[in-house]
């Protein structure tokens, strides 16, 4: 399974650095057929990074999201916010569908809850602990590297039913 892993955040913003921190471990592990992409934030061009992937994994910090982390499927959903400053994974998948004219690869979100996001801060103690918990989970994911296994591993998180992330309303 060719895997595209996208992690984003700002390491100078406390727990917002959870995404890049986890992605750095992913990159260091150098798992085969795994591409890692880091950015400050998710944007439309990241749809192109999904080309050729059998599966996408999005990694970000969350606020007021389940602790220590949540893991769930994400599906394409066009959204329109009042700013270009926030693009959720669902929207990137929708952009992929628009641009490529085909369904995007199956995609999952690993969202690690953060607590403190102050400028100039490092990870909070809670954030650092959750990074370790998430890393253990990632290693389990990579041992069971199939969509079926990942869906099964996402099942315990289903109780955290949630709306699509920071994207605002769907386009008219």
């Amino acid at each position: 399974m060719r895997l595209a892993v996208l992690g984003w955040g700002n390491e100078s913003r406390g727990d917002d650095g959870l995404g890049p921190a986890l992605l750095a471990r992913f990159a260091a592990a150098a798992w085969p057929e795994t591409t890692t992409i880091e950015d400050y934030q998710l944007q439309i061009e990241h749809a192109l990074d999904l080309e050729g992937a059998d599966c996408a994994l999005f990694i970000d910090a969350g606020k007021n999201t389940p602790a220590p982390f949540s893991f769930y499927r994400v599906i394409p959903r066009r959204s329109l916010a009042h700013t270009t400053h926030a693009l959720p994974p669902e929207a990137v998948l929708a952009v992929y569908a628009e641009v490529e004219g085909e369904e995007p690869p199956p995609a999952f979100m690993l969202c690690v809850r953060g607590e403190s996001f102050g400028l100039g801060e490092g990870l909070s103690p809670d954030g650092a602990a959750r990074l370790e918990a998430a890393w253990e989970f990632v290693q389990a994911l990579m041992r069971e590297r199939s969509l079926e296994a990942w869906d099964e591993m996402a099942r315990p998180f289903l109780s955290f039913a949630r709306e699509p992330t920071a994207g605002g309303r769907p386009a008219a």
Binding site: Y40, T84, A86, P88, V95, T165
Partner: protein, 487 residues
């Protein structure tokens, strides 16, 4: 004229709050205060300011700053990178940049403009423009244009990707790049990198031109609507070169009034503190800069694409200049102040930037290796100003002899546009609020006005979280009258 910002008797007013909640930062909030007859009396756009950024920078070595400031904003790190580098050129005492270094910085900046404007137009603005605003005006006429949208969406992504590739090749990495350093650049552009970018440059220019044509077609479906939506007469400001052409990288400051008269011209931006006053208001963390000589009430101004295309005398490239003239003709030669016209101006600038980037890629200096200027005496103070995608961006630093930053002042584009955005939303609220409740239509229109400016929402943090739009109607006693929620 009714002052819609500051009510005379706020205790008698009803408050309507529109607030996307639970972003870590970067949420905006609109407060509408009504008078006793339910007319819009006061409107305020609250945006989280770049709080703490100056403190974040102070105490750091000056040579580190152009890299560090990229973390101030996840959407335009390159703008901060270049503005800080320009300031540090002066701080460190460097002379004029080498031809190659300046051209590389310019190419980097134009790449950033293309990718930023493409993102805004194709992702954020085009749904508004193509699918209407819950309005009957022009809605039916744009159906044919909407049919063409899937291909346009693809172009938008590819144009943004090209701009990102320009950035990657010049600074060496997709993010955390270190291309600009005090005195020049730290990496040359290889022939292979130049050729890779040049391969698609003509197509990017062609697509940019077609994007302008699309906006024109849309505006022609309802000219009065596009001209008047979110209209607020404002002074305008931007950088121009000695010939009067818009210059996004370097130039003198020029300001015109709402009728096009010159307020000042070719002002040396290092003297900005003599020209501008940064006013604070008790209800907002964001400052309200204005032209000192005109005072706070008359001295506020607009920056960004809509200001720039009207402040300049001409644009430096033929296709963009041709489009600028069409824009001027649309307003019968008079300055235009409608918020939606930002989109048109933005596409003209994207074409301008694409043409300039293509020309630089065909310039042999761009692959030169003479990257550093001669160093003179350490000056310890510097101001760097550029025209970032959203408008004029000021970086000002003082550095002690131990090379550590002791003072930092940033005026970002959105701060420069603060009052102008407030005025645009006032215009929309005054026109579309029915005096009783916040309707879906009003919400949409306010969002459209905010989107036109694409304010920077201090988004260096962007953790996942729900981003609903909450609307509270609260009476003068604080009782909740009604509540709406979106998202």
């Amino acid at each position: 004229m009714l002052n819609l910002e500051t009510a005379q008797s706020p205790h008698k007013l009803r408050q309507v709050a529109i607030e996307p909640v639970s972003r870590v930062e970067g949420h905006g909030k609109v407060t509408i205060l009504l008078d006793e007859e339910n007319r819009v009396h006061q409107v305020r756009l609250h945006i989280v300011e770049f709080r703490g950024f100056e403190v974040f920078i102070e105490g750091r070595p000056y040579w580190e700053v152009p890299v560090t400031v990229q973390r101030l904003c996840g959407i335009c790190p390159v703008s901060h990178h270049i503005a800080a580098a320009k300031a540090m050129d002066l701080v460190a005492g460097y002379g004029p940049l080498t031809a190659t270094a300046e051209k590389l910085r310019r190419l980097l900046h134009y790449g950033q403009l293309v990718q930023s404007h493409a993102l805004h137009f194709f992702y954020l603005a085009s749904p508004d423009l193509l699918f209407g605003f819950d309005s009957d005006v022009g809605a039916r006429n744009v159906v044919g244009v909407a049919a063409a949208f899937p291909e346009l969406a693809k172009r938008g992504v590819l144009m943004r990707k090209w701009g990102q590739e320009v950035i990657r090749h010049i600074v060496g990495k997709r993010i955390h790049g270190t291309g600009c350093i005090p005195g020049g650049m730290n990496k040359a552009l290889s022939v292979e990198e130049r050729d890779a970018l040049r391969r698609d440059a003509d197509e990017i220019v062609a697509w940019s031109r077609e994007s302008v044509a699309l906006v024109i077609r849309l505006c022609e479906t309802g000219p009065k609507y596009y001209k008047n939506f979110g209209e607020s007469r404002a002074n305008m400001m931007g950088l121009v070169d000695a010939s009067g052409a818009s210059d996004y990288y370097h130039g003198g400051l020029r300001a015109r009034d709402a009728d096009g008269g010159t307020i000042f011209d070719q002002v040396d931006y290092t003297t900005y503190q003599q020209v501008f006053q940064e006013e604070t208001k008790p209800w907002s963390y964001m400052k309200f800069p204005h032209i000192k000589a005109l005072g706070a009430e008359k001295g506020w101004y607009r920056v960004g694409p809509l200001a720039r295309v009207q402040v300049c005398d001409h644009l430096s490239t033929p296709l963009a200049e041709d489009e600028r003239r069409k824009f001027v003709a649309f307003g019968d030669g008079k300055p235009q102040h409608g918020a939606l016209l930002y989109h048109w101006a933005r596409m003209i600038e994207m074409l301008n930037a694409a043409e300039m980037a293509r020309d630089l890629l065909n310039d042999s200096d761009i692959i030169g290796t003479d990257l550093m200027a001669d160093k003179g005496t350490f000056r310890g103070e510097g101001v760097g100003v550029i025209e970032a995608p959203r408008g004029t961006l000021f970086h000002h630093y003082r550095v002690a002899e131990d090379d550590l930053v002791t003072y930092c002042n940033l005026i970002v584009s959105t701060t420069n546009n603060n009052q102008a955005m407030n005025e645009a939303i006032r215009s929309v609220a005054a026109r579309f609020f029915n005096g009783r409740e916040v309707t879906e239509g009003l919400l949409n229109h306010i969002e459209v006005a905010i989107r036109a400016y694409d304010p920077c929402l201090s988004c260096a943090t962007h953790a996942l979280g729900q981003m609903p739009l909450e609307v509270d109607v609260v009476d003068a006693d604080g009782a909740l009258v009604s509540r709406g929620r979106k998202g």
